[in-house]
Amino acid sequence: MKRIMIVEDDPMASQLLEIYIKEHKEYELVCNIESASMAEVYCLSQNIDLILMDVCTAMNASGLDAAEKIKKNFPHIKIVIITSQPECSFIDRARQVGVDSFWYKSSKAEEIITVIEKTFAGENIYPDTTPTLVFGDALSVDLSDRELEVLRELVAGETDADIAEHLFMSVRTVKSHITNMKNKTGFKNRTELAVRARECGLIINDKHQE
């Protein structure tokens, strides 16, 4: 029996995952918790084989941060990150911290189970690309990596000077990236850019959770 832990703060999503797992006799659901900050504690004693974890969890705890710590202290535990947020940086961060597989929650039950099975078989399952989002008059893929970095800072409520300092660029360059994004998307100002980016899930403000 493979022992699985679910880390998901949305009760409906977590119950659904619970049902999917309980349907398979070879899997045992060890626990279903709401916050990624507590995941490591369960790893200490519950002999867990795989964690099915969301990115944004209760207490503003990031599943990716927790995954990084767990992979460091319990490298044998497989981790599957599941999210409904099409945030462009999640996949890169997940690979960076050593997450075994990454999948989107909107997928069907069979897909999630397949991802779990393949992960147990030693495969790393990742979607080829992040979902393409309509962002104003543009698509999310129309924005450059640097523009997305600036947008992430904007969503976090940083000023141009702060963004310039964080991203090691001049204030003029920051303004230029913002202007380019406004031109591409057709949004009137920086606030609209930030709000729309947050609304469509292109950027999740996890800066304050880091």
């Binding site: 703060d9 009760p11 409906m12 504690v41 209760a58 207490m59 409520g157 947050r198 304050h208």
Partner: protein, 431 residues
Amino acid sequence: MISYCSIPSICKVFIMAYIFALLCGIVLSMSPVFSARKHRGKIAWVFCVFVSSAMLLIYAADVKTAKQNLSVNSFVRWFCDLPVVFPLILITLMTVYVLYVIIKEKHKRHNIVTRSSVKEGIDKLDSGLCFAYESGRVILANYIMNELCHSILGRDLQNANVFWDALSSCKVKEDVVCLQAGENPSFRLPDGRVWSFAHSVIDNIIQVSAADTTYLQRLTDELKEKNKELKAINARLVAYGEEVDELTRSKERLETKINIHRSLGQALLVTRHYLIDSTRDEKVPFDIWEKNIAMLSMEIEQPSEEPFEMFIKAAKTAGVDIEINGQLPSREETNNLFALAAAESLVNAVRHADANAMYITFTEEHDMDMVSFTNNGTRPESEITEGGGLGALRKKTERIGGIMKVCHNPEFALIISIPKKGEPHEANNDC
């Protein structure tokens, strides 16, 4: 050759008038000649005065004796009989000398800086300037600085040190607004203009300068106002971001509910088929109904657990007893952080200290909420090195203005203090 005696009277008068004018010119050029250091010019000047005076006297004597038929002195006669070209050459040379002195003086006036020109120059500056000895005694102060001293302090600029002390400590007239004290004081005068002052010591000489920064101040005020608005917008944006999280979750729940209702429809169809044809496998509709009932049961959402409830539950599974003293803080942000710290402490207590009990104490001190975590495990032998977990926790603590202390002596203790109003406090690492 024609001599002076034989030229017409009108020419004689002209020559005499010219020599007189020349003499006047020589006398007027006395000041620049004698203020110069060179003696050559002074000798030339004396020579010119002597020669021109002598020529004027001799020619005047000649004219007078000729008119009154008097006997003429032999030297006068000899000089007047000399060819007129000689006195004309002398006169020309002296004229050239006088013109040279006048032109030189004029040129000098334009190129040499005198005390007066320095004063005149700094008076025309559009900024205030004052130089003084170290004792404060004023050496030079321009018109604007004197005016500013009057406008700001209401008295004359007598001592630069007293003036600067008054400026830097904002001891000014009531109608003057002190915008900034200290090393670069600035003031708004009753006429609305803003002046900024600077103080420096150059080779034992004090320099106090004042610059009109009205325009700069206006731009700074505008910028401050804009930054204030921007900060408010950014704060609203962050708050909005947090609300969007909840909105997204609600959307997800809605989508799940739609799926459940679709699934129910599917279950009804499968059941109908089974009822029509009872030879079909009954396990299929049975499984579908079981799954649907399970999903329907979760539609009644259970309220989320409190952070410390989650922690205590987690600790229980890890076999660690938790003893809590004091009251949990009321602020959600502080509560969440303390729960994160509790989880981190628990992991460290089990992994590094082999503890089976953990003690948590909440206290309130002045305007701070405090928590300390200790355990009954092995005491650390050396100072704790902060890894990823504690390091991240420190960052989170400091981001909301708190202080985190990690002690290893006499026992391991993690102490976190968070200001109730969210204002940052200075770190004190004493355990």
